[in-house]
């Protein structure tokens, strides 16, 4: 994948964090809006799944960028990217499971 695609997704993830994060905040802090949002638990779970995905992508890509700059060797660059991707997927899987348990889906 080209670096521009990765970085474009990084910016898209930032926007998604803002939108889904706002929905999450409203759902847990405003009783009226919160009740409306949580009326459909599947949609709320979907929002949280997107929030978690965007958050992890943005955070882990940030870590990848820092590591690439600190260890600029091209061989290491490839390994860093793969390692971060695997750690990210595992973290997302664990996070999603926690979310599903917390929201009563499992």
């Amino acid at each position: 994948m080209r670096e521009s695609t990765i970085m474009f997704l990084h910016y898209v993830a930032a926007v998604l964090i803002m939108i889904t994060g706002l929905i999450h905040l409203l759902a847990n802090n405003d009783p009226v809006i919160g009740a409306a949002i949580k009326a459909s638990p599947v949609l709320y779970l979907g929002n949280m799944a997107i929030f978690l995905a965007a958050l992890l992508y943005h955070a882990f890509n940030g870590v990848r960028v820092i590591l690439i700059e600190m260890v600029p060797d091209r061989c290491w660059t490839k390994w860093i990217s793969w390692a971060i991707l695997i750690v990210g997927i595992v973290t997302y899987a664990v996070g999603l499971q926690v979310l599903m348990v917390a929201l009563g889906f499992a």
């Binding site: 080209r2 690439i68 091209r74």
Partner: protein, 290 residues
Amino acid sequence: MASEEAKEYVLPPEVLEETVKASEELWKPVRKIKFRIYKYNPRKDYAPHWEEHELEVSRGMTVLDALLIIKGETDHSLGIRYSCRMGLCGSCAMMINGKQMLACQTRVLEAAGSGDVVELRPLDNFPVERDLAADFTSFFEKHRAVKPWIIRNDEVELNNPTGPYKQTVDEYARYYQFTDCIKCGACLSACPTAATDYEYLGPQALAQAYRYIVDTRDDGLDVRIPIVDTEHGCWRCHFAASCSDVCPRGVDPAQGIQLLKKLLIKRKFGLKPHKPAEALPAKVKAEKEG
């Protein structure tokens, strides 16, 4: 005719006298300044050290003038790089009191300010060649990597041009400022990313890539994208803008990099940066024949 006109023009005596007086004033020693100079020959020395030289400086004296006096009178072994002495070649860029500057364009008193010490060391983020001269090998490799020349698809026209290419003022204005780059290395030296990421192409090379990509005469977008759109390409710029801050020519490489990023994103949605320029005479000829 021209020589007659030249002969006729003589400075009025009072103006001449004033000019001579001002010049004398400019070059009259006014202050003693201590020069703290970095000395290191990687082939001989175990570690770098500092040497101090004291000099009577005048208002008009540049750092390069002072260095040449020091080299001529007190330290013949001093390694410096210079050429044009007028801020055009970019050879004499160095750290003057901690900031990237051209030695030939910086007056000693301006650098010293209210203090009496001027500290000189080679450019940061560059290996040392000797004393104040930095090794530019990697810098020029990065510059060459972005193919800083016009690339055309129509090879017949390129090799046998039928005339000048059409370009409007607006099209020229898009890349004009980047043509002012003198490759002094000040931008790369000031770049915080380049300080850790030695593979990073750097502000100079990336701004030059942008300069050629947006040139309507150029068709090399697809050739340059695999070079600039990499892990160590334009996306590693975090827009500290220190490159633009130190550029002695007033070029804004940070802006060039941001525009390059924008161009790459726009390309994702199928938007091309420009229409390729046409070779006018060939087109006119073809239209006439058609």
